[in-house]
């Protein structure tokens, strides 16, 4: 039964309408935004709303075309073709979500081109066939324009086949709502965490590669729900993951102490 609960997503701008329109027209979607701002959750919510299965592929730099499309395996003296996740989505008409697409090699992402434009086809050279995408198939990629993407940027030819939706960290009131919903903590604690997150996001230099995302705030909130002191939770879930540098860590601890009042329960 819990499968039917829609994923919790609070729209901030027009992203839901844009996604709906792109899906209806069979266009591919590129989600841009910093890590932990809710890209994956947004896709889950949209897949649920549109009633399509969701196939997620977490991209990494060893991801090859064969990992997406499929490959021959040896089985009992025979070669057997096994579909990859992309092929499965094309056949079933599912939403195929390639998380952190820039992590994949560029020669891998080229296979997406005929799928992402008007052709909506997947050529499978090893089988010598070309699959037409079933209706309902939608290609969604996520892309973090910040730190991760710099090693290999997305090719322009890939980018221009997509509709871009830009996501960012939600405004304070929405983020507070998210924390309350996700971790079932009270408003007061959520306010403190959101303020702390906002302060860290204002830091421009200071040796932090990434700022505190909604995801780490939720993690901190959940630790609190599990009985941890708010300060300890923030140290463990926010400061620790952001940096290894002892000086920056100490600075973050001090910020946490400043923004978080003691909750001695």
């Amino acid at each position: 039964m819990s499968q039917d609960v829609p994923p919790f997503y609070v729209p901030v701008g027009t992203e839901v309408q844009v996604f709906g329109a792109a899906f209806q027209q069979g266009l591919s979607v590129m989600l841009k935004g910093p890590t932990g701002c809710g890209k994956t959750r947004f896709v889950e919510a949209m897949a649920h709303d549109l009633g399509r299965p969701l196939i997620t592929v977490a991209c990494h730099d060893d991801l090859t075309t064969a990992d997406l499309v499929g490959r021959f395996l040896l089985r009992g003296g025979e070669t057997v073709w096994v579909d990859g996740p992309l092929t499965r989505a094309v056949r079933e008409g599912a939403i195929c979500y390639l998380d952190e697409i820039v992590e994949a090699r560029q020669d891998t992402t080229v296979v997406l081109h005929p799928l992402a434009d008007y052709r909506r086809q997947l050529p499978m050279e090893r089988l010598g066939v070309t699959l037409d995408a079933a209706s309902g198939f939608c290609l969604v990629v996520s892309y973090n324009p910040g730190y991760q993407s710099v090693l290999k940027d997305l090719k322009d030819s890939t980018r221009q086949r997509m509709v871009a939706i830009e996501l960012d960290f939600p405004p304070a009131d929405v983020e507070q709502k998210i924390l309350v919903h996700e971790a079932a903590i009270d408003e007061e604690l959520a306010t403190q965490l959101v303020r702390l997150g906002g302060a860290i996001r204002r830091l421009e230099t200071s040796g932090l590669r990434e700022v505190a995302s909604t995801r780490v705030l939720v993690a901190a909130a959940r630790l609190v729900t599990a009985g941890l002191d708010l300060r300890d939770a923030a140290r463990a879930a926010i400061a620790g993951p952001l940096t290894d540098d002892p000086i920056v860590t100490a600075g973050l601890f001090e910020m946490i102490d400043a923004y978080v009042t003691h909750t001695s329960t």
């Binding site: 490959r71 090699r105 020669d107 540098d245 601890f253 102490d257």
Partner: protein, 580 residues
């Protein structure tokens, strides 16, 4: 608080490091925090917040937050404050108004405990520093500021504000613009005592100068014995292969520094005498000195993204590897073998796939940063050359580190042949951290440029510590080779020679000149056939750096193969000769 919250880093880090991040987050720009005089109220000069190091943590926190809020709100704008000079009571009234205004305006961003100090009634009476100023000078009744507001010292803020670019001391400058402002800043040498010592480390009677004199005096007398024993053989052998000349002879010197014994390493290198067309053996002594920590906010947080993108593509080719346990294609030969083994009832090898693997990154880069006095000259594009070079060095180092290359950064300058000083800002095995930034911020231009010795030392360090097949030496310099007995064509020829030695060792050389006024002809004379480029500013570097790196590495590759061949044939020759 339970014991789990006691983290050891708390103890190590002083007051400044603890609060700097918080202060920067609130003020929206890099801000330092320092312990001020005990018992004095907190204040700020617009760049550093001074708080009482002995007061309670909660009080310190409030003071930091309030001073940072004042800076964010533009309350410490020198243009406003200079009207308050020598008016202590008006300043107090101004502080009260501005403090409450800043806290109220920022109430959504501040820690809740501090917001409670704000008095919205007082805050309502003013909407800008200017209107606060008018109210403060007037005669209306204004409540005294709470103790946690500290004080405003109009004249001290003014001094800093005037020395620096107008606006940086006061109103909030958005981070992107601020980088531009920082780059244009004149070198503010007058600001601290440490700076003065660094500015001329060997000259005169400074403590470091005295230490070095003693140190180098010892070097000449005590060092001649032990290393000399194997030096002649090395020199005769190296007449065939120039590259071996570069190997350093290490001298261990014991010098007393305030009564204690220190061991400092000196490296000895030859120098090329273009007039006699021969080397002067053991001519230059290179000493590695620990760089002083400086102000890391001086290093603009450069945008290394385009640099990283350019550098990431170097040396990452995809190779197809056979007989892998997994992969995207079947390796037919392996599969056939597999079935042969199965049919023969022996033990089959199950690795029957072909996998495309990206070869691992195999590059180490040593960046040599020229910190001689000529870098202190003003550049064609604003600011001084040194600041441009430092920001280029910081960006390059960060970008290379982030794409996973081994990278080191050394500053260098000289004062005659026996005092070539290199400052390891980041050694190969150090990680890029805030320490790297503060060391880089501590470098100040001074002294001369014995390029050749620095290049030889860089090349030899790369050779010893690089640890990768492909090595690259990047020299960031204005190309003005000048030192005692190292003038004009002599210096230029030696620098050129040192670069060609490095290339023979298979080290790629790339010389970059950022924002310098040296003309292209002079650069060509010094850098010779090495890949070199001059850029007006750091931003322009990213677009060209990829091809430059590739060209430098390519030349080194060719040279290395050629010199290996030559070495092998000369060795063969000598074997034949010794045989006869």
């Amino acid at each position: 608080m339970n014991s789990a919250t006691k983290v050891p880093v708390d103890a190590q880090v002083d007051i400044g490091n603890r609060y700097a991040l918080l202060a920067s987050a609130i003020s929206g720009r890099p801000l330092e925090v320092a312990g001020g005089d005990p018992g004095r109220p907190a204040w700020s000069d617009g760049r550093t917040v001074f708080i009482n190091a002995e007061s309670a943590a909660q009080t310190q926190l409030q003071c930091v937050v309030i001073q940072a809020s004042l800076i964010y709100a533009g309350s410490l704008e020198p243009r406003v404050l200079h009207k308050l000079a020598r008016k202590p009571s008006a300043t107090r009234r101004y502080l009260s108004l501005e403090g409450h205004r800043a806290l109220t305006a920022l109430s959504d961003l501040l820690p809740t405990t501090v917001v409670s100090v704000a008095d919205p009634m007082t805050a309502q009476r003013t909407e800008s520093p200017q209107s606060s100023l008018i109210l403060a000078i007037g005669s209306e009744d204004i409540p005294d500021p709470p103790a946690s507001f500290g004080v405003i010292r109009p004249r001290h803020v003014g001094i800093v504000g005037d020395e620096r670019i107008d606006g940086l001391g006061g109103a909030h400058v958005p981070p992107r613009e601020r980088q531009a402002v920082l780059r244009e800043l004149e070198d503010d040498i007058g600001e601290g005592a440490i700076v003065d010592i660094l500015a001329s480390p060997v000259g005169g009677g400074g403590p470091i100068g005295r230490l070095l004199k003693r140190l180098l005096g010892d070097a000449r007398s005590s060092g001649a014995g032990s290393p000399g024993t194997d030096a002649p053989t090395r020199l005769t052998r190296s007449s065939n292969s120039v590259s071996r000349l570069g190997s350093p002879t290490m001298r261990r010197l014991a010098v007393s520094k305030d009564g204690s014994l220190d061991v400092i390493r000196g490296f000895v290198y030859p120098e090329w005498n273009v007039h006699l067309r021969s080397y002067r053996p053991e001519w230059c002594t290179v000493v590695e000195l620990e760089p002083e920590d400086g102000d890391r906010s001086r290093i603009p947080a450069g945008n290394t993204r385009s640099l990283r993108r350019a550098l990431a593509r170097l040396g990452t080719e995809v190779e197809r590897q056979r007989r892998q346990p997994q992969g995207e294609d079947l390796d037919l030969d392996a599969a056939v073998d597999f079935y042969v083994e199965v049919r023969a009832h022996s033990f089959p090898d199950e690795d029957v796939y072909i996998e495309s693997q990206r070869s691992r990154r195999d590059l180490s880069v040593l960046v040599l940063l020229d910190i001689s006095g000529s870098a202190g000259e003003s550049s064609g594009s604003g600011g001084i050359v040194h600041d441009h070079q430092v920001s280029a060095a910081a960006d390059l180092t960060a970008a290379l580190h982030q794409v996973g290359d081994r990278v080191a950064l050394y500053g260098f300058r000289s004062q005659g042949r026996s005092a070539v000083h290199v400052y390891p800002v980041k050694r190969f095995d150090d990680t890029v951290s805030t320490l790297t930034e503060s060391r880089l911020g501590g470098l100040r231009p001074g002294g001369f440029t014995r390029l050749g010795a620095a290049i030889r030392h860089g090349a030899s360090t790369l050779e010893r510590q690089g640890g990768t097949g492909r090595r690259l030496l990047v020299v960031l310099s204005d190309g003005f080779a000048y030192d005692h007995g190292y003038e004009g064509s002599y210096g230029e020829a030696d620098a050129r020679r040192a670069l060609s030695e490095a290339r023979h060792q298979g080290i790629g050389c790339l010389c970059l000149s950022i924002a310098s006024t040296t003309d292209a002809e002079a650069l060509r004379r010094v850098f010779g056939t090495a890949a070199y480029a001059a850029f007006g500013s750091t931003d322009l570097m990213a677009s060209a750096i990829g091809p430059l790196f590739r060209a430098a590495l390519g030349t080194a590759e060719v040279q290395r193969r050629r010199s290996e061949r030559v070495t092998r044939s000369t060795e063969l020759l000598s074997i034949e000769r010794s045989g006869t």
